[in-house]
């Protein structure tokens, strides 16, 4: 029979108290906070036995939980051999055209792989999407004698394959030297004032959705009601042209951004695109936040219906309900619920904290807050810095080192 305040290891669940924390109370009395809190917070004073949920039958390196469409708790796993196993223990593969072998290959070598619940514009959902969960993964692909880390997307399930989302911007020219040639029909009278510009993206199709890869904003400005776009297939590096499905043409005019056309990658000859009031009105608007794919992130984590991408010097945060990164060079306006880039280095993890987030970094912990909205970033570095409140706020360097190294001369 335990007396209040007494500590002893209890066999069930291997509960072993850590070194005592003590505090001085009134008149110098010393209390054992650990025992007190243990008694108060864990009335059973022992840990319950863990419950076995799934045995993947291979040594697990990482695992990721998700809720399937029928509200069942499921898990995916990355094994020590870098295999990506679904909740039915089926291995998942990336279908990658390898320029070195000049062939499509089913590859493994995963670093992360999990299921995300997200929404995309109807424009990007293919007509008959698979009912399997949407999966996102990072995988190592060969690059010369080394390797590169690439984000992949697709569905999770037996026989499903993931598609690599390569970071490749199309080169757009007015002449045939570019990968994409674009010109306007100069026989027509100018009708646009101000002129419009064009955005070109490579895109891939998974079983769930079309995904736009990093975009190029045309330097030229156009005023006529018709542009002609030609894909110069042989100018595109083989890795890009064999791993993408086509090109997307987007019109950027005044404050409007409209998706005008999908062009399959092997289309021969010029594609004529009429651009006028009617076609612009008919075209779906383009959300910048679906545009970019993260390049070589250290880690990806989905929290609070946002996806966080951890880079060495910054953290990129998707808009609400979006899984993709935000573009570098398309100058999006920060909007409530939109995403943003946070200039904080060495971020390791993120935790939900009410309507905010806690960013755990090597140098300390930051709280991410918005301006009344759950999240509201604008693309001004100073404003972003102000949005970050470092805790502890007045930590001195020595204290910080002590804190990071664990103190007690462990440095």
């Amino acid at each position: 029979m335990l007396v209040f305040g007494q500590i002893e290891p209890i066999g069930v669940g291997n509960l072993v108290p850590l070194p005592k924390k003590t505090a001085r109370g009134l008149e110098g009395a010393v209390y054992n906070q650990f025992a007190e809190r243990m008694y108060r917070l864990l009335p059973h004073r022992s840990m319950p036995k863990p419950t076995l949920l799934i045995d993947f039958e291979e040594p697990i390196q990482f695992f990721y939980p998700f809720i399937d469409i029928d509200d069942n708790l499921r898990f995916t796993a990355i094994t020590e051999d870098r295999r990506f196993l679904s909740h039915t223990k089926e291995p998942q593969y990336v279908l990658y055209f390898n320029p070195a072998s000049n062939a499509l290959e089913y590859r493994e070598g995963f670093e992360q792989g999990y299921v995300v619940d997200h929404t995309v514009l109807s424009t990007f959902v293919i007509p008959s999407p698979s009912t399997d969960p949407t999966a996102i993964a990072t995988v190592f692909l060969p690059q010369g004698t080394g390797r590169k880390k690439v984000v992949c997307a697709g569905t999770l399930g037996e026989g499903s394959t993931l598609i690599p989302l390569l970071q490749y911007k199309p080169k757009v020219r007015r002449n045939s030297a570019g990968e994409i040639r674009v010109r306007e029909n100069t026989s027509l009278a100018p009708i646009f004032d101000p002129p419009y510009r064009l955005i070109f993206c490579y895109y891939v199709e998974t079983l769930k959705e079309r995904i736009l890869l990093p975009a190029t904003l045309s330097e030229g400005r156009f005023t006529r009601g018709e542009v002609l776009v030609q894909i110069n297939y042989s100018n595109i590096p083989v890795e890009a042209r064999k791993n993408v499905a086509g090109v997307v043409v987007i019109v950027l005019w005044a404050n409007q951004t409209r998706i005008m056309r999908f062009i399959p990658i092997d289309t021969v000859g010029e594609t004529v695109i009429a651009i006028n009031q009617e076609t612009l009105a008919d075209a779906p608007s383009f959300n910048f936040h679906t545009a970019n794919i993260p390049y070589n992130p250290r880690a990806i984590k989905t929290v609070g219906n946002r996806t966080f991408y951890f880079y060495p010097n910054e953290v990129r945060i998707s808009a609400i309900g979006r899984m993709w990164d935000i573009p570098d060079d398309l100058a999006p306006q920060g909007v409530a619920g939109g995403g943003g880039i946070v200039d904080v280095s060495n971020a390791l993890d993120v935790l939900p904290f009410g309507s905010q987030f806690l960013l755990l970094t090597k140098q300390g912990v930051y709280r991410l807050k918005g301006n009344g909205q759950p999240f509201c970033f604008r693309f001004r570095p100073l404003a972003l810095l102000l949005a970050l409140l470092c805790f502890p706020p007045l930590l001195k360097r020595r204290q910080m080192e002590w804190c990071i190294t664990g103190g007690c001369g462990l440095r």
Partner: protein
């Protein structure tokens, strides 16, 4: 990848910070921390901890590879299997 786990602390009635360095606390070398409190944490030595109101509780002595939390539930992977641990479940007698 090493970072520390610390304490949640009340400042002016609002939980605003973790890791009060000037207090006598135990710092753990953690590989991963999941879930807002209670939290589940993985030490760099493979130990599994639950974190509850300024205290750490060791649940597994080693061999844990990963931890995760979803909808207030806590999971960890050891060897080839995934387990759930419920910090508020009634104790099971053996």
């Amino acid at each position: 990848m090493v970072y520390y786990g610390g304490m949640w602390f009340e400042i002016a009635g609002v939980n605003e910070t973790i890791n009060i360095v000037l207090q006598p606390i135990t710092l753990l070398f953690l590989r991963k921390l999941e879930g807002s409190e209670p939290s589940i944490a993985l030490g760099i030595d493979g130990k599994l901890y639950l974190i509850l109101d300024e205290s750490f509780y060791e649940v597994e002595a080693g061999g844990v590879r990963d931890v995760s939390s979803l909808n207030g539930r806590f999971f960890y992977a050891k060897n080839t299997a995934v387990y759930e641990i419920d910090p508020f479940a009634p104790v099971s007698e053996v």
